[in-house]
Symmetry: C2
Subunit: 163 residues, 2 copies
């Protein structure tokens, strides 16, 4: 029986996380940089950073296969943002993305979160990504046209977290 | 004939801006703090901060009556955010808010901006604030329910800036 675990990201995981983020074809170079900036704030400051970051490992010895980064939305009472979730392309189709999402939802609930939001670009979100969020119970609640660039909208998916 | 001018905010304007922000009844204490954090980043780093901040003065000697803070939206090609606009309650009804908005739009256009967004809380935005934005040609493009807290939605107004 294979084993899978999700735990807080540590400095020694940074190379693996960087490789995963860079390997996800849908992220642009600017997005990869932004994802790593949040990861580094987490490694420097922990929960104070506002960017809670966890990795998923499997195998023996365990190897990092995915990660998730989320945090409380500034100026809100109990809304949280899911900033990034990524799974190594070689480890996709095993439900790791859904496991990471479910894990984040539990953490958010335990910290008093009530609403979890995911923002994404329409040009990235068509197809597999939308189905991924919808399967997890997220609904499209906002679409701002031409936000990222002409023809690339900002989509916001939301899920109410039961108290 | 009275005179009105709009110019970049300087350190000596900080007390006046703080008084104006604190005097606008609709802003919570947390929002006042956030507004001043952006102002301080502008005073420290200038345009590099991403928070362009200008004040409006009138009278002789000139006194600061309002301010506006805006900047490019991260990860977008040519979208800008209007973060804060506030006018001294004692100087309202003179069109200063509309002047500040029009000024910001010109600055955004000159820097290649194409879309200007304003996010606001529904509990603040009803009535005068919505009319203020609509008069300036902004349209409500997104409403995320219960974003700030139960019953307080996030509204986004948008205006396309002609090239």
């Amino acid at each position: 029986m294979s084993s899978v675990s999700i735990r807080p990201m540590k400095p020694r995981d940074r190379t693996a996380v960087e490789k995963i983020v860079a390997g996800v074809a849908v992220f642009s170079a600017g997005e990869v940089d932004t994802a790593l900036e949040l990861v580094d704030e987490w490694l420097d400051e922990g929960e104070e950073s506002g960017y809670l970051t966890y990795v998923l490992e499997d195998g023996d010895p365990p190897a990092v296969r995915g990660y998730i980064c989320f945090g409380p939305t500034p100026l809100t009472e109990s809304t949280w943002d899911l900033y990034w979730v990524a799974v190594d392309p070689a480890a996709q189709g095993k439900g790791y993305g859904q496991m990471l999402l479910a894990f984040a939802e539990t953490e958010v609930r335990q910290r008093g979160g009530r609403l979890l939001l995911i923002e994404t670009a329409s040009q990235e979100a068509y197809g597999a990504t939308v189905r991924f969020y919808q399967r997890a119970g997220y609904e499209l609640v906002s679409q701002i046209r031409n936000f990222y660039r002409e023809g690339d909208d900002k989509l916001t998916f939301a899920k109410v977290i039961p108290g």
